[in-house]
């Protein structure tokens, strides 16, 4: 485990945010701080609100209540492209590269939407570096649509990294990868952090998430039910109940013979 400054500078502060979709309370009073340089894992059963939280942070679905502070700026209600300009990048669960463009061009597009204004020439240079980093350089000339699943996941990551973000939101970058590819991707995530990029990560491959995260937040039905180190969270009774079901109901079932 990499040592982290205990009281580091806070890069992202989520303050009591709530989001409703019709009658569904998707997020309720979610509050946490993310210190610079940390990897923060976000877990929870299906429908817990994880991706909604990402969408709230990067401006896709602004929250109805609460505030989001990124790099000391209140970005609540900002448009996604403005949030991106401030140095926040994300990957998506379902990757949708620009299939007809080459791998390199896809990453160049990413390089043009960060916090620094880039010429096309500069974007090309950055795209080349990032592709080398994610080990996709050999395919730079291929149409993005021709990549396999693991390569598309790397391209999605490269596109986000090309924006040179301060904060990177990773939404299930391990989904669909085989065990060897998962191990490789974990190494890539660690190297990204070593470059000084702060990471907020959603992941269903639990052993991987627990290995890579410094701290974990647990959502269940939009509520934040736990926060702590991976070990604390994995042994928290409320978290176990959210994942495995209510033991009391099972007891009642067994007693009803």
């Amino acid at each position: 485990m990499t040592a982290q400054p205990a009281q580091g500078e806070i890069i992202l502060s989520i303050q009591k945010i709530s989001k409703r979709f019709g009658g569904l309370q998707a997020l309720c009073d979610v509050t946490f701080d993310l210190p610079k340089g940390q990897i923060l894992g976000l877990i929870g059963p299906n429908g817990a609100g994880k991706t909604t939280l990402f969408n709230a942070v990067n401006g896709v679905y602004p929250p109805e209540e609460g505030r989001i502070i990124f790099r000391n700026t209140d970005i609540t209600g900002w448009q996604p492209y403005s949030v991106a300009r401030l140095g926040l990048a994300r990957t998506h669960q379902v990757v949708r590269p620009l299939n007809e463009l080459t791998v390199l061009e896809n990453v160049m597009a990413g390089a043009c939407f960060g916090h620094e204004q880039r010429s096309l020439g500069q974007a090309r240079g950055i795209a080349g570096e990032v592709l080398a980093f994610v080990e996709l350089a050999a395919r730079h000339d291929a149409p993005a649509g021709s990549l396999n699943v693991a390569q598309k996941k790397r391209l999605e990551l490269a596109r986000a990294l090309a924006a040179r973000p301060y904060l990177l939101l990773l939404d299930e970058v391990l989904a669909g990868l085989n065990p060897k590819e998962i191990d490789e991707m974990i190494q890539v995530v660690r190297q990204i952090r070593e470059q000084g990029i702060t990471i907020l990560i959603i992941e269903h491959v639990m052993h991987a998430l627990m290995t890579v995260s410094d701290r974990v937040i647990v959502l269940d039905y939009g509520e934040q039910i736990a926060e702590g180190t991976p070990a604390e969270v994995a042994n928290n009774p409320r978290v176990i109940e959210a994942y495995l079901g209510d033991p009391a109901l099972a007891e009642r079932m067994m007693e009803s013979d």
Binding site: N46, G176, H204, H207, L209, A234, Y243, L249, E251, M253
Partner: protein, 236 residues
């Protein structure tokens, strides 16, 4: 030999492999639970048993016959029946018509009347509402109807995908009581369930699927006591 046996099965979608050499056996008259976290491959396993997803590798035998490549409708005809996730009812048809649709298999079509009495006895609520449109039922009643429709096919093996999902505890309890009754009548069942505690409380034998592989298996009462189940879900 087990009633249904799956040996070293691999499958997936396109280039995405979901199941990695899964072996599983359903014993006659037993209730077997299959649990596992999101994305572990539970639904894919059911789809592969049913023939809705093609196995890439491995073998499935049912009642001593190789059914690995058999189409879903042919499996249903032999009594392999799935109650799908999200019920998949014919919502604009009546409760009775939905039950009639369940009796489409060759094996069940002639015993429709007898089976109808049986499911109305199990779920008196459905009898009361037999002429009501399925889409107007409550969530719990819809799930009852989905189970009843499965029973109308006169299953040899009845499989459930996420029976308790989205239901209030009291409804979950009454549905699970029905499972127990079916078990006492000798029906072989496979229960895929997100509520692990509940699944382990009612089943005889259990498998825990994680990342497309069977990590843990054993008598349900023993699996209940294992900390590895928590680890399989929470990663440590």
């Amino acid at each position: 030999m087990a009633f249904l046996e799956m040996t070293d099965l691999s499958s997936g979608y396109g280039e995405l492999q979901i199941l990695w050499g899964v072996s599983l056996a359903l014993e006659r008259g037993q209730l077997t639970a299959l649990v596992g976290s999101n994305g572990a491959g539970k639904t894919t396993l059911l789809r592969t048993i049913m023939g809705l997803t093609r196995p890439w590798h491995g073998r499935i035998t049912f009642d001593d016959r190789d059914v690995t490549r058999l189409a879903a409708h042919a499996k249903a005809d032999r009594g392999l029946i799935l109650v799908p996730e999200g019920r998949q009812l014919f919502t604009s048809m009546s409760v009775y018509e939905n039950l009639e649709m369940g009796a489409f298999t060759r094996r069940a079509v002639n015993s429709l009347k007898r089976n109808l009495e049986r499911v109305y006895d199990l779920f008196p609520r459905l009898k009361e509402r037999s002429s009501q449109k399925a889409g107007t039922l409550s969530g719990g009643e819809q799930q009852m109807l989905a189970v009843a429709r499965g029973l109308m096919a006169e299953p040899q093996i009845l499989m459930f995908d996420e029976l308790s999902l989205g239901l209030a505890p009291v409804l979950v309890m009454s549905l699970f009581q029905v499972l127990r009754r079916l078990k006492s009548e000798g029906l072989t069942m496979l229960l895929v369930e997100q509520n692990v505690q509940l699944a382990l409380a009612v089943s005889d034998y259990a498998y825990v699927l994680s990342e497309g592989r069977i990590g843990i298996q054993g008598k349900a009462a023993a699996v209940r006591q294992m900390d590895q189940v928590r680890q399989a879900y929470l990663g440590m």
